[in-house]
Amino acid sequence: MQLRDYILRRLLVLPILIIGVSIVVFTLTRVGGSPIGIYLSHEMTPSEVAEIQARFGLDQPVWVQYLQWAKGILQGDFGYSGVAAAPVSDIFPLKLAATMELAVAAGCVALFLGITLGTFAGARRNKLPDHITRIVAVSGASLPQFWFGILLLIVFWAQLGIAPIGRSDATIFASIAHPTGLYTIDAILAGSLTAFWDAVWHLILPALTLGYGATAIIARMMRSALVEELQQDYVDAARAKGLAEKIVLKRHARRNALVPTVTVIGLTFGFLLQGTITIEIIYRWPGLGRWMADSVLRGDQGTLMTYVLFTSVLFLLVNLIVDVVYANLDRRVTLGK
């Protein structure tokens, strides 16, 4: 099957999957507690509770509620967030931008360090650099993020005072326009070096904390794959041809070792998104993760449904992209079979 046909087929199936996911999401959030828990208090009479239920359409049969919710989503109305005291559609893009910025920064950290360390270790199998890399990798995978994050805060924020907390300096942040919601990009668009530096400076610690855990996974996978590739006949053939070891490693073995690693990178994206919940709470990062944590605890179902639906759709798309990239890297893979 042609790559184009495969992508089209997957995209055609996507709406059906999204409808299925939306039904599951809606059902689960209805089972998970009162959708208006955030507004309830014991002082309310049953008629007052009923009044709030009516305000959010909860006096309708569940299937009507689902249809209203789905209709709202198609019209861009994702409901009202009690936690944020604003329509979800107003707040979600801002939070999403903050989280994506963090996740992408952490992803860059993880990719760069993971592939570099993995290649470094794989090429020096069972030697001291390999052992050191293993220790680094295992540490990243096993250190609890909340602990590692707080440790970094103690040292670099509280003790040394060289790293900030939060996403921005409030004054600098307010000094530029935010057309994309991505602080780094907005700073570049505004031509403000001060704002750009502020954005990067605030990103360093949370991105490092979040990316470190993912670094470990990528590095280990990269190392294993590279070790395997270096034992293949084609590597011996390349060496026999007289190619420099550097070229053998980078142009041949590493490229093939990237195939299984790319699959892990796709999964790592999910890890990074999940990880942002802890990281955002610790670093006071105003993103989706922190908003979701509050929404779970305070029963803000409108926000939760939007978030779960969004992440479900995102995963479907990311899986599609990973499949395509995978096929591109490894010509032996045939799509659609």
Binding site: Y39, S41, V49, V83, A85, A86, I150, D294, G299
Partner: protein, 552 residues
């Protein structure tokens, strides 16, 4: 479900340990963020609209700073002081009619709202009528609607209100409530106006008041910024304010120690992490007016209890059982453990520090195992034992209070079983708001108020909020007497007679308790030592701070 937020404790231990070995912080050398007060808050507001805010909710903190009311409480006493009204109405100054029904407020001239419009009596009437007309169930409009028969703009600077019945608590509890804040009529009308039963989204996220602070911006889940109102009618505030919202409590502690935050919201369980830190002062003084209590349900629907509960639905109808629980609770363990020694034991049910509190009234303040055993035996539950669940929010003092209850009862008799259901806030709120309530026991704190009538009406009156939900009428030895005493005190305008009635009520409730009151929590607030003018007033909404008083 009994797992209390272990992660917090583990983190606290790790943070504390790491800090102990770390280099000393040099945060005292300079004042961080000069001209700006950074307050790290626990909760995010769900609204900034006085007509929508629920008492005790995070929005009240901001409303207190940006809006004014007719009267207020000073920082150092529970006495009322003038605010937008120029004097506190009394019978002597003609502000209260002889029959106690009509209150007349002379208003302050020359006051302007933050949008530049002039303040007048029209705005007061508009603000109060607006809350009553919107009547949002999550808000506190009932505080006004339940007592006010009519209101009138006498002239531009005079506003009068007539009550349904005489009320000894009107000024203390109603006029000072956040729902009685005065909003800009022009701002509301320009942004959605008033619609019955429908929140005003503009007012939920914006503020136009007359207070010492002007609202600047609210970055959801991040921070909320206020700036000094240079045209304030009173003493100008000195510092702009940034309220940092939510986040991990341990990070708030860390931020205070590092000098990044000037004030943080904490409870006594954090004292050990802060005490002795350079440049940090722990304000300890007085008590919060939010007694920590465990409710006993006398109105349990048949078959609704959790399966592990073995008690009958009428278990708490027997006053001996309720007394026995009160005797069995290990008060000192709770005070010296979770409360770190900051608190007092108080009687049923007028908090210490409030008018009407009788210091000589009997108090459950010491575990009396022998008396508890005697009462449990008399009630016929000692030999067979029982299992009962208590539901609460996870990860806070309430959950710890439940664990103390569990430990107290299970040590008293191994056949007793207390199942602590520590659940997420939303799950607890759902259960707590249901009527009838499907749990035999639950733990929380009382809502704060400035007048004893609020507490007794809400928590002791057989026909009051909890009397009705919990079915107090099923258990009081003499429900009519309790109701009569509370009702008569509510309309008694002679303070001496009123205090005497409250003293009698407290004695009655000691013999016939409907709650286990673990303690009245002490005020503990940590702030940077460079902060000047620090004061707390428990009658102000949590965290009981007025930022306009501070300087650094």
């Amino acid at each position: 479900m009994t797992t209390i937020k272990w992660r917090n404790h583990l983190t606290a231990a790790l943070v504390g340990g790491a800090l102990a070995f770390a280099l000393p912080l040099d945060a005292t050398a300079q004042v961080n963020n000069p001209g700006l007060l950074v307050h790290a808050a626990d909760d995010e507001p769900t609204t900034l609209d006085p007509a929508q805010v629920e008492p005790g909710e995070g929005g009240e903190t901001v409303i207190l700073q940006v809006y004014d009311r007719l009267l207020d409480f000073g920082s150092d006493s529970p006495e009322l002081i003038p605010s937008l009204a120029v004097e506190v109405p009394s019978v002597d100054n003609g502000g209260i009619s002889a029959d106690g029904l009509t209150y007349t407020f002379k208003l302050r001239e020359g006051v302007t709202f933050h949008d530049g419009t002039a303040f007048s009596a029209d705005d007061v009437k508009y603000s109060w009528d607006r809350a009553i007309e919107m009547d949002l169930p999550e808000g506190n409009a009932g505080a006004l609607a339940d007592v006010i028969a009519s209101s009138e703009v006498v002239d531009d600077m005079t506003f009068s209100v007539t009550l349904n019945d005489p009320s000894a608590s009107f000024l203390n509890s109603v006029v000072t409530a956040m729902v009685a804040s005065v909003v800009s009529q022009d701002a509301v009308e320009a942004n959605g106006g008033i619609e019955a039963g429908v929140p005003n989204q503009y007012m939920a996220g914006n503020m136009v008041g007359t207070g010492p602070y002007k609202f600047v911006t609210w970055n959801r889940n991040e921070n909320l910024q206020l700036e000094v109102n240079d045209n304030y009618w009173g003493d100008n505030a000195k510092l702009d304010v940034r309220i940092e919202i939510g986040g991990d409590p341990d990070v708030r502690v860390l931020g205070l120690r590092a000098g990044e935050f000037d004030t943080i919201e904490t409870d006594p369980s954090f004292v050990a992490d802060i005490e002795g830190a350079d440049g940090v002062t722990i304000f300890k003084g007085g008590l919060l007016l939010e007694p920590l209590h465990i409710g006993m349900n006398l109105n349990i629907p048949e078959g609704s209890l959790p399966p592990e509960d073995t008690i009958s639905e009428d278990f708490f109808h027997d006053p001996r059982i309720r007394q026995a629980f009160n005797h069995a609770f290990d008060y000192e363990a709770f005070l010296n453990g979770p409360l770190a020694g900051y608190g007092e034991f108080n009687p049923h049910y007028v908090p210490i520090g409030l008018f009407g509190h009788d210091a000589s009234a009997p108090v459950y303040n010491k575990q009396n195992a022998a008396e508890a055993e005697r009462l449990f035996r008399e009630a016929g539950v000692w030999d067979e034992g029982f299992s009962v669940s208590v539901i609460t929010e996870e990860g806070n003092l309430f959950a710890l209070m439940c664990l103390v209850l569990k430990d107290s009862l299970e040590r008293l008799n191994p056949k007793f079983r207390i199942n602590v259901l520590a659940v997420a806030e939303s799950v607890f709120d759902d259960a707590h708001a249901s009527n009838p309530l499907e749990y035999a026991m639950w733990a929380k704190n009382a809502d704060p108020a400035a007048d004893p009538n609020f507490y007794l009406n809400a928590y002791a009156h057989p026909d009051g909020e909890w009397g009705e939900v919990h079915g107090f009428g099923n258990g009081y030895r003499d429900a009519a007497k309790i109701a009569g005493l509370i009702d008569s005190a509510a309309i008694e305008l002679d303070p001496a007679k009123r205090a005497a009635t409250y003293a009698e009520i407290q004695r009655e409730l000691y013999e016939d308790p409907m709650w286990i009151i673990g303690a009245q929590e002490g005020i503990v607030m940590a702030h940077r030592s460079w902060l000047e003018g620090f004061a707390m007033q428990p009658l102000w909404p949590r965290p009981s701070l007025k930022f306009s008083l501070f300087d650094k």
